[in-house]
Symmetry: C2
């Protein structure tokens, strides 16, 4: 489409800094005839402290009108753990039915990895985003006493699993290697495990060209550090996806370059794009944050909206920038953003 109406949520900590650079690169990459409109929203710790609100129905109505959402980071030590996560981040994912949480991992030339050797890493994790142990089901009885019992319920539906598994198969089918791994723990979590495994095997019949494998989540963490080249596309549940994507980010260049999309493929609600990293309050406001993960999230956003060529230009600019970093002095957040903006415009 010839216009993008973007909701921008800088959030907390380094969020504002990295989002500024993300928008800079976005403006630079868009052709003149694509009109970019942005509206900033003040969600996060400040709003919570000022009003007690994290995300109201009116907020959701306002966000709903946008084509997509760009988020920096949400979270601050001044807010009790869980309040902004459950009250904002997860609330938004559930409200907008962001069931495909897309997290690519690619180790680019010149980028440092904690792994020895020079592993070839280029895979994408499709993490389910609206079910599993993230639903908030569960509860506590006898709180604070020696007889307290707390439960967490992982909810898995055929509907929810099938749509994300199908999405992952389609992505695998579209990639050169056409490989898809299901990660679960079906030998222990047998109820959910059978549901995931059966649906995975059923959908596999529709994609005869895709090579599949199953792997327990514990074994997957081993392969991620010993044979990361083994992976092409991974599909997994919400919690396992949370865990393996942080590990995947760590081995493929760190969370400074890890992008993610919270996608609703139906288009009924805007999708949301954000760096995998958090708000990093320890370095906030110092110009030290690497905006690359946010810039790569902008590329995911553009690809989602059909601006493939522009997304590719950003990916190429980032790859070029990263390949020239070794041995150079560290640059500020703004300097990296400026450099990327110049590259995508050139």
């Amino acid at each position: 489409s010839r216009s993008i109406n973007l909701a921008v949520i800088p959030g907390d900590g380094i969020g504002q800094e990295v989002v500024t650079e993300g928008l800079k690169v976005l403006s630079a990459v868009l052709p003149q005839d694509v009109k970019l409109e942005t509206k900033e929203y003040d969600f996060g710790a400040r709003r919570y402290h000022a009003t007690g609100e994290t995300l109201t129905d009116a907020d959701l109505d306002a966000l709903k009108k946008h084509d997509a959402i760009l988020l920096g980071a949400i979270g601050d030590p001044s807010v009790p753990s869980g309040v902004l996560e459950r009250g904002f981040l997860l609330k938004l994912r559930f409200a907008f039915d962001h069931h495909v949480n897309l997290r690519p991992s690619k180790l680019l030339p010149g980028v440092a990895t904690p792994l020895a050797g020079e592993p070839e890493i280029d895979f994408v994790v499709v993490r389910e985003g609206t079910e599993g142990p993230y639903t908030g089901n569960g509860g506590t009885i006898r709180k604070g006493t020696e007889h307290e019992v707390a439960t967490e319920v992982s909810v898995n539906t055929a509907f929810g699993v099938e749509r994300v598994v199908r999405d992952a198969f389609a992505r695998a089918q579209a990639r050169p290697r056409k490989k898809l791994a299901l990660i679960h723990k079906n030998n222990v979590l047998t109820f959910a495990g059978h549901l995931w495994t059966n649906i995975f095997n059923k959908v596999a019949e529709e994609f005869p060209e895709v090579t599949t494998e199953y792997m327990h989540v514990d074994a997957a963490t081993i392969y991620l550090v010993t044979q990361p080249e083994r992976f092409d596309v991974i599909v997994t549940d919400n919690l396992f996806g949370d865990i393996v994507t942080d590990l995947a980010a760590a081995v493929s260049g760190g969370i400074g370059v890890a992008a993610s999309g919270n996608i609703n493929p139906s288009g009924d609600f805007p999708s949301m794009f954000e760096p995998v990293h958090g708000s990093a309050p320890d370095i906030a406001g110092q110009g030290k944050a690497d905006p690359t993960a946010t810039v790569l999230s902008v590329a995911l956003l553009l690809r989602h909206l059909g601006h493939e060529a522009e997304a590719d230009r950003i990916d190429e600019a980032v790859a070029a920038d990263l390949s020239e970093r070794t041995g150079k002095p560290a640059r500020s957040t703004t300097e990296i953003g400026d450099a990327l903006a110049v590259r995508v415009a050139g």
Copy 2:
């Protein structure tokens, strides 16, 4: 005590091979006046195929009479996923209340790690063994239909959490660095997360010398590959413990050297010791399996039974053996066992 009455469960795949070597080293290290009695049990895939049984009440009664249990590995592709895991391994852990699942990770000199540089890794994970998402709570409705819903319930009790947290604090207190990290996901799994966090903070008051930190499980996987030297003792729930201990094994020399104890500190039931690796059916019967993890599990077993000096001798023998491996041709299971037996006897 001056006698050890040991239950031996070779199990499936490479289980028999590695257990043979474990027992060889055990016999070699024990002083003459310690009487070792062993009784072998045939649990695993063969027994299941022959009788349909995995672990009966009579089996539990028989096992109960031993001082400890040594297990090789359980699991075979011929048995549906979950049958032996839930029907034997987890059933035994629950029946004997093995609530402290102890998994040390130490990168020994000369041992290869997938991590770059030469990280110093020496920590121990105390994984809760009888609660969390491992209880088998949950279920399925409308199985096999497009309306299937499958749930898994993580059950966490103040009783269960406090005893394992206390055990971990005591272990941290006894180590030179006196550090303890709680790993959870308390910003999303807020019910269980609050229970774990509150109890952790409460017990911490009794151990003022122990330095504590909290870490989300996703962040923990990053630290395990970027700063593994950061960890001393980790305490965590059953599922997170399963995941981080496989990753920990991978970075500290591989599952070929990862030992574990399923411990009931009360002594009401025998504790069980086993290598972290599985039955590896692809290499079974070929003399290729590394028995080191089983031998190190024997050391944990001896330490648990109060034979500290013998446990130390095994640890030293393994360290010496590993330090001399580089550049040498691979040895068979028996050759490694023989070499370790000679060392501990010498």
